[in-house]
Symmetry: C2
Subunit: 239 residues, 2 copies
DNA sequence: TCTCCCAATATCCTATAGGAAAGATGTTTG
DNA sequence: CAAACATCTTTCCTATAGGATATTGGGAGA
């Protein structure tokens, strides 16, 4: 047709505007650096720091409020949300049981598509878990970057199951839960030494999915989450 | 003490800022009036109509985008979200099955608190359902206000169960589902003639909860949602 | 008659300024 | 010395203006 060739095939500029950039920046800031709950999140200050106008910051904070990471009091501004206390912790696990067991059963319907990805993820988790174990055995300081990577892979296993349901509504809800689980990790700050257990339990879920047995997979997921809950209880009690 | 008397006891000014007012106004507008999908929601136009500045309108739209009622394309503005098509309809019912069956089982743990409220709601639904039936038997025009009221009570039954879980996370998710179910009603636009069925099925759920039998209650809820799904399928097929 | 290009309009996005409320600090008074 | 008041600062909330971008319509050329 024309003599101009387009070398930007998949490179859609992904026009997302400033709002989403600011959102991701603040989200990352809240997730990574351990910022004290109750800290004020001043719109103007953030806008100055990021060299943007307050408007996109406002929009990003509205979006963040919906996730529960920040709280807002009218005419008083935004603050970092308080951590998850023990009562909410039990409720969070209950919600996870409801959502994830149901999702696992649904994902079993598309097992053929899901199993390969889960396999790769579990293998990566096994490697990282071993690294974590060795790092702790060496007794050195907590390798935060390594832990962050491990937790990411751990959650990716659960996330892939949600994707496996091919259900956009459940996927949306998994996003909400994901952030809350991450926040829980900040308060419980354990779930580290149990890496071998988690790998084994994930393996049981994966085996059931490989067999296409939805009920067994859901049961394995229930078992896994209950065990994580038990370990979390132990951590909070010991704290 | 002082001679000034304060006659504004419960009249807390309810400081919520313009943002929430605008949000509720737009939400109501979208829920009630059947506005065509794809309609542009111009920030400036809405701001002019509501006699406020564009900023609170922007915030309200960000919040609405998160609910799925409106879509946003960067630099192109907001639009009314497209309706739920049949593929999403099946997925929506799957998600409801996962969420509501799990919630019912959890709510059985607080049956004593929940049953009275459910009883009152079901009684109201029975009355309204009868009114609806008579209105349709008379063959007159569709009594939209009456239908709106009936649907509200119908959903309140489900909502009370979510509240009965005493689980803030599940309650949050029920809000998301609620809006989507409402939107589904706009596309399926039936679920009217089945009022007697719905009342009966709700009654079965309530009976199981009264007995404190969580498993039976969850099974009754599953049965109910599956039947609603079947009726919705029938509607879309007939359309 | 169809296609392509260009300009005009409407809208979104960003930036800046002013009014209002909440919290903090210093002062005054019992 | 303590408590209450006044004032000040900070921040949020709202409003308005300007630059950038997408859509629409018309006109020229093939």
């Amino acid at each position: 047709m024309s003599e101009t060739v387009y070398p930007l095939a998949g490179h859609t500029p992904q026009r997302k505007g400033l709002r989403d950039s600011v959102y991701e920046l603040i989200l990352n800031m809240l997730m990574t650096s351990d910022i004290a709950p109750g800290t004020r999140l001043s719109i103007d200050v953030i806008a100055r720091d990021l060299k943007v106008s307050p408007t996109p910051v406002r929009e990003a904070l509205v979006q963040l409020e919906r996730t529960g990471l920040v709280t807002r009091e009218a005419l008083k501004g935004y603050r970092v949300a308080p951590p998850i206390h023990s009562g909410q912790l039990e409720a969070l696990f209950d919600a996870r049981l409801v959502l994830e067991c149901g999702a696992t059963e649904l994902a079993a319907g598309h097992a053929a598509d899901v199993v390969p990805e889960l396999d790769a993820t579990l293998e990566k988790q096994r490697e990282l878990g071993e690294k974590v174990r060795r790092a702790f055995a060496a007794g050195g300081p907590a390798p935060v970057d390594l832990l962050r990577e491990y937790f990411a892979v751990d959650w990716q296993f659960h996330h892939l199951i949600f994707e496996g349901t091919r259900n956009p509504f459940l996927l949306d809800m998994s996003e909400d839960i994901s952030i809350r689980v991450h926040r829980m990790r900040q308060t419980v700050n354990a779930g580290v030494t149990d890496a071998p257990d988690a790998v084994i339990e994930h393996g049981l879920i994966l085996d059931a999915l490989r067999n296409g047995d939805g009920d067994a997979a859901a049961a394995a997921m229930r078992d896994h989450i209950e065990k994580v809950r038990e370990r979390a209880r132990h951590d909070t009690a010991a704290r």
